[in-house]
């Protein structure tokens, strides 16, 4: 365990050094991260204002709160490794990782953590800026705010495991774009990105409850904004834990099968 901590320290330090060299790329990623929720926020505010002040219980200030918190949670739960895995496998770079006596997932976990921490330098001021500009309204309770942090941690774990599982498709196909797109479209609808899940038709909400996506993004946001009663919060945490267990089991199995299939291309 101590050895693993030492590895994480070293790897996160290295990731800081590497990532901070690409300031322009980081800036572009950040603009994307901020811009997406701002677009939805502006659209939904306009809809709310033109429909007599609110839509399904969301006021313009409510939408502002929803999308600003969503942006923060999106940053803290994001995973991009499915875009890299295809290259690592197709190009044979995965070989170098497989030769080391440590599971390759640890490298991605530490890079993921490093990026999220590094980018707080931009996410925090961006959030404050949006708060000043869009004047969010939040009516929540202390317990909900306190539980926000564990909900985010579990959401980030779940998102990472599911994302990595999706990434492993690259062991079977060298054209993972379609699979990745399917994953992100699912997030778009079922994780509360295009609209708060409360505003979607009943049957979509029921599907969303059965899939992992809500628990990866929307749930911590709903919790923070005080839109869940204690029972719904408990159900949410249970869903997160169950999905983490399932994803972990699936990941172990798929990883073993994938490595068995691995072609170790190239020199």
């Amino acid at each position: 365990m101590l050895a693993l901590i030492a590895y994480y320290q070293q790897r996160i330090k290295t990731s800081f050094i590497v990532q901070s060299q690409y300031r322009v790329a980081l800036a572009i990623w950040m603009i994307g991260l901020v811009l997406e929720p701002v677009i939805y926020l502006v659209v939904w505010r306009t809809v709310a204002e033109s429909s007599g002040g609110q839509v399904g219980g969301f006021t313009p200030g409510g939408f502002a709160a929803y999308y600003i918190v969503l942006m923060v949670v999106m940053h803290l739960t994001q995973i991009w490794h499915m875009w890299e895995m295809e290259y690592l496998i197709r190009d044979g770079t995965m070989s170098g990782r497989l030769l080391r006596p440590i599971h390759p997932i640890h490298q991605d976990v530490s890079e993921n953590i490093a990026y999220k921490v590094l980018m707080l330098i931009v996410v925090v001021p961006a959030t404050l800026f949006l708060v000043v500009v869009f004047q969010p309204e939040i009516q929540t309770s202390l317990w909900a705010v306190l539980l926000f942090l564990p909900a985010i941690l579990l959401a980030a774990m779940l998102a990472f495991l599911v994302g990595w599982l999706v990434a492993l498709a690259a062991f079977w196909t060298t054209r993972t774009l379609a699979i990745n797109e399917f994953y992100f479209i699912s997030m778009f609808f079922f994780a509360g990105q295009v609209a708060p899940l409360e505003l979607l038709p009943d049957f979509i909400r029921r599907i969303a409850d059965l899939l992992p996506f809500r628990w990866m993004l929307s749930f911590p946001v709903e919790l923070f904004l005080g839109r869940l009663n204690p029972q719904a919060a408990l159900e949410g945490f249970s869903a997160q834990v169950i999905w983490i267990g399932l994803a972990w089991l699936a990941l172990r199995w798929v990883w073993t099968q994938g490595v068995r299939r691995y072609g170790a291309v190239g020199g």
């Binding site: 050895a3 030492a6 590895y7 320290q9 070293q10 790897r11 290295t14 050094i17 590497v18 060299q21 044979g92 770079t93 070989s95 170098g96 497989l98 030769l99 080391r100 006596p101 440590i102 490595v259 068995r260 691995y262 072609g263 170790a264 190239g266 020199g267």
Partner: protein
């Protein structure tokens, strides 16, 4: 004691076959014809502690596939391999901590940072105690002449400098078994020589077993007493390099120096060069003694040498045979 034990090792790839053209492409959406390619076919050999073995064969012979199976990257389709008593494809920590595979130029180093930072990362990965790490790093720095390049970002290094850093990174944990796939490829003669000397020195100091592939015969001649030759995934020869030449080189070359370099020597053998009194003949290996005796008796020879052909030519002869497996001797 054998550190590498290979018994009937096989690797079969399923390859999707398709004819050219749009029609075939559309058809392949529905029905796919798969072909089997036997990359490694019933390969058996063993390598002892401290041995340096050259692993030779033309492109596509199955050398790299074999090395990847032995390093645990590929799962064999059949047979068995044991390295240091471990089954490679299980990729246990104890196994991975004691081996290394150097291939190409991009295994050990993080592109954007100085090599020394990547080495630190390897220290954490391999759990190398600080004192051991410092000692090994000093040794590698000295042997490979890394001092001036350790603190430069890897992307700013030349090919040779990068390869030296790759090799250092691959050896920080002092592996007992080294799989080296073309470690000198693309390097200039000086860098090749340095890496060659280094491998010999590492082998001597640490009694590490080395299995090495190279297209540069100078590497093989300098490092490997024993060679394993494979072709189409099958073992063709396993033995001393000198025996390979004796068995597969059908000819020898005789160079003689004559006062009169216009003499007709075609009766003795095939004349392959004639330069300022120096004449080189190619003769069948079995005829060498007889031809030499006759030449010395018949001609006013002032100097002569008998040589095996260059190892490159021998290897070329071996692989040029239409059915190379017919030449199998072991």
């Amino acid at each position: 004691m054998a550190v590498i034990q290979v018994d009937n090792l096989r690797k079969v790839y399923q390859v999707h076959q398709r004819e050219a053209g749009l029609g075939a492409a559309l058809k392949s959406l529905l029905v796919r014809k798969m072909d089997e390619v036997r990359a490694v076919d019933s390969l058996s050999f063993q390598v002892e502690v401290g041995e340096v073995v050259g692993f030779l064969g033309p492109n596509g012979a199955g050398k790299t596939t074999s090395l990847k199976m032995l390093a645990g990257l590929l799962h064999p389709s059949g047979g068995e391999a044991k390295v240091l008593g471990y089954t490679p494809e299980r990729r246990e920590r104890g196994f991975l901590s004691q081996i290394t595979l150097v291939m190409g130029q991009r295994n050990q180093l993080v592109w954007d940072i100085p090599a020394i930072d990547s080495f630190e990362l390897n220290r954490a990965v391999y759990r190398i105690p600080l004192s051991d790490y410092k000692r090994t790093l000093d040794e590698l720095t000295h042997l490979l002449g890394l001092e001036p390049i350790l603190n430069k970002p890897v992307r700013n290094l030349s090919l040779g400098e990068r390869m030296k850093c790759e090799i250092a990174g691959a050896l920080l944990h002092r592996p007992r078994v080294l799989f080296l796939d073309e470690p000198t490829i693309g390097l200039d003669v000086t860098a090749q020589k340095r890496i060659r000397e280094f491998i010999a020195e590492y082998n001597r100091r640490h009694e590490a077993a080395v299995l090495l592939t190279s297209h540069y015969m100078a590497d093989v001649e300098a490092l490997c007493k024993r060679v394993i030759v494979i072709h189409h995934g099958k073992l063709l020869f396993d033995g001393d390099l000198s025996d390979l030449v004796a068995k597969f080189a059908p000819t020898k070359t005789i160079s003689i120096h004559l006062e009169d370099d216009r003499a007709d020597l075609s009766a003795y053998g095939e004349v392959i060069s004639r330069e300022e009194g120096q004449i080189t003949l190619r003769v069948p290996r079995a005829e060498t003694t007889r031809v030499t005796t006759r030449l010395l008796a018949d001609m006013p020879v002032t100097d002569f040498t008998v040589q095996d052909p260059p190892i490159e030519d021998v290897i070329e002869t071996v692989f040029a045979e239409p059915d190379a497996t017919a030449l199998k001797v072991n």
